[in-house]
């Protein structure tokens, strides 16, 4: 019953956030006009139709997909590392993507090349961490976490170097990319299927994720092939993150707080938590991105700043009201 209410609310939130995004901006579009555009009735306002269908809708869809990918990846990464503080970037995927993207910018390559470079960087980082954390011994959580953090630090240095070497006129674009930016993003026709397949895969292993959250040993004793499951989670979460970062740069905070907000709201079963994270993460980023392009219009802000500005107070408030979940030790 509570689950039904929660999911209805989240669906409403998703629709509302998309409508908010489509209606907001320098060209005013009324609700009636939006309805007309989407029901393919001649709205009588050609400019509005063009702005909504060619600019706002692709961008809102990209924002939703990115937020959803990050929230899903974050939820998976937290179970994989058994650490509530894990976010999708903790293992260095975004650093690899950023290094790739900045290299492409420095070389003056076009946006298609930039996307390929970012995705290649993310995949390289993912495989590097995967290979190195194996080593000769077992694939333990702390080994994976340490390898990831060290590789991420290495990417951090590479990013710093590229920024230092970059000519001044390129810096602004680079900084925007690093903070997460959704302007000029096309409709996510490649990423949306990744999100859908990723969500289905995550829900399919949902019960196993619930057990793994109780510990690797326990999961092993309850008949789970822990090694195979953890590899699968790692690859899935990394691919989702790589897709998100390629789409919009490193947007912080969504992947960390969305799964936690839902946990604080009492959602613990990953078969429900992960679909809920997709809806909440997606709509949060749609709202944040809409604010990013309208608050100081005509100036656009990097959306990463907005996600933090919204996320920090909301999360602190939730944490404050549910002390008994994380605060009380026996």
């Amino acid at each position: 019953m509570r689950t039904t209410v929660l999911f209805s609310t989240l669906l409403l939130l998703t629709v509302a956030s998309l409508l908010f995004s489509l209606a907001s901006g320098s060209v005013a579009v009324s609700w009636q006009e939006l309805l007309a555009i989407f029901t393919h009735v001649d709205s009588g306002n050609g400019l509005a139709e063009q702005v909504v269908m060619e600019l706002r809708w692709p961008r809102a869809a990209a924002a939703f997909t990115t937020g959803a990918l990050l929230a899903l990846a974050g939820g998976l990464m937290q179970v994989l590392l058994r650490n509530p503080l894990a976010d999708p970037y903790v293992l260095g995927v975004s650093g690899g993507a950023a290094t790739g993207a900045l290299l492409a910018m420095l070389a003056g390559l076009g946006s298609l090349w930039l996307h390929s470079a970012a995705f290649s960087g993310a995949l390289l980082s993912m495989l590097l961490v995967f290979g190195l954390s194996h080593g000769s011994g077992s694939w333990t959580t702390s080994r994976l976490l340490l390898t990831g953090i060290v590789i991420a630090a290495g990417w951090g240095a590479a990013i710093g170097l590229l920024l230092a070497l970059s000519p001044e006129q390129g810096l602004r674009g680079m900084l925007f990319w690093l903070m997460g930016d959704l302007s000029n993003t096309p409709f996510p026709s490649g990423s949306l299927p990744v999100l859908l397949v990723g969500l289905l895969a995550a829900v399919a292993i949902g019960r196993a994720l619930n057990i793994l959250a109780h510990g690797e040993r326990t999961a092993g004793a309850l008949g789970i092939n822990v090694r195979a499951l953890r590899r699968f989670i790692y690859l899935l979460a990394s691919l989702l993150t790589a897709t998100a970062v390629t789409l919009a740069g490193s947007i912080g905070f969504i992947g960390l707080i969305v799964p936690h907000m839902l946990r604080l709201l009492g959602l613990r079963d990953h078969r429900l938590l992960l679909p809920a994270a997709v809806l909440l993460g997606g709509s949060l980023l749609v709202v944040a991105d809409t604010l990013a392009r309208t608050l100081l219009a005509p100036r656009q802000l990097p959306v990463g700043i907005l996600t933090a500005l919204i996320g920090v107070p909301v999360f602190l408030m939730l944490l404050h009201h549910s002390r008994n979940l994380y605060g009380e030790e026996r």
Partner: protein
């Protein structure tokens, strides 16, 4: 048919030899107790028998089939393990935790049914925790958390139960009630139990087979009359003991 058997089992951990050439056969209805000093590898032996770590040499068979070749899920339908301690990183309620014990019996995409829920509630009732099903496990006391762990193991409904210090954290009343429960559960359902225990007198009271690990690879096994002699126990614990006649046989006191 034996539930679990080992042939020429050799286990080492670091420089310690836990056992060498161990031949043990566990049948239904038997309640085994593993005795030994700290660090002799009792837990390692249990984890090896559960297939969670490889043995150095030798074979383990579950229902006469080699353990290492069985699917993990099938193993978990035959053999349950209570760990020495519990690590809860994420919030979960008592009922949710006990329901994890049903995992081996569910298909990949199957949800827990009302029958699974009933089994979980029954085991919570058995460990005297039925009014606490909505409590978060990280807010429980050590003893309550232990009873939830035992309930989870019982909900797994395996013919063989391995328990690593099941009376850890429990007060005297709950030690006896848990051991009574396990004994009843074992007898009524023809289960086999293998317990690691440190309380010699409780072990004598509740178990009918004993495996002594001396820490140098040597082992002894058999009934209480056969192996629990003063000489063997003093060699086992390397501490002088005093046997005092009690209401149900000898009571062992450390000198």
């Amino acid at each position: 048919m034996s539930l679990l058997a080992t042939q020429a089992l050799h286990i080492t951990i670091g420089s310690t030899t836990v056992c060498s050439d161990l031949e043990i056969t566990i049948n239904s209805g038997e309640r085994w107790c593993v005795l030994g000093r700290n660090g002799t590898g009792k837990t390692t032996l249990l984890h090896t028998l559960a297939g969670l770590r490889p043995a150095d040499a030798g074979d383990i068979t579950l229902n006469d089939q080699p353990l290492s070749r069985l699917a993990r899920k099938l193993v978990a339908q035959h053999l349950g393990l209570l760990f020495q301690d519990h690590a809860d990183a994420f919030p979960a309620t008592v009922l949710e935790t006990v329901l994890t014990g049903r995992h081996p019996w569910l298909g990949p995409l199957q949800w827990e049914s009302s029958q699974d829920l009933a089994i979980a509630r029954n085991t919570l009732h058995a460990v005297n925790m039925c009014d606490m099903e909505d409590r978060m496990v990280n807010t429980l006391s050590g003893g309550e958390r232990r009873r939830v762990g035992i309930a989870c193991l019982l909900a797994q409904q395996t013919p063989l139960l391995l328990l690593d210090e099941p009376t850890n954290h429990l007060d005297i009343h709950h030690q006896i009630s848990m051991l009574n429960l396990l004994q009843e559960h074992g007898t009524q359902n023809d289960k086999a139990l293998l317990l690691v225990m440190h309380d010699l007198n409780l072990a004598v009271r509740y178990c009918n087979r004993f495996l002594l690990l001396f820490g140098d690879g040597k082992t002894l096994q058999g009934t209480a009359e056969a192996v629990l002699t003063q000489a063997n126990l003093e060699r086992l614990y390397q501490h002088p003991l005093l046997a005092v006649p009690g209401p149900q046989g000898m009571v062992w006191l450390p000198r």
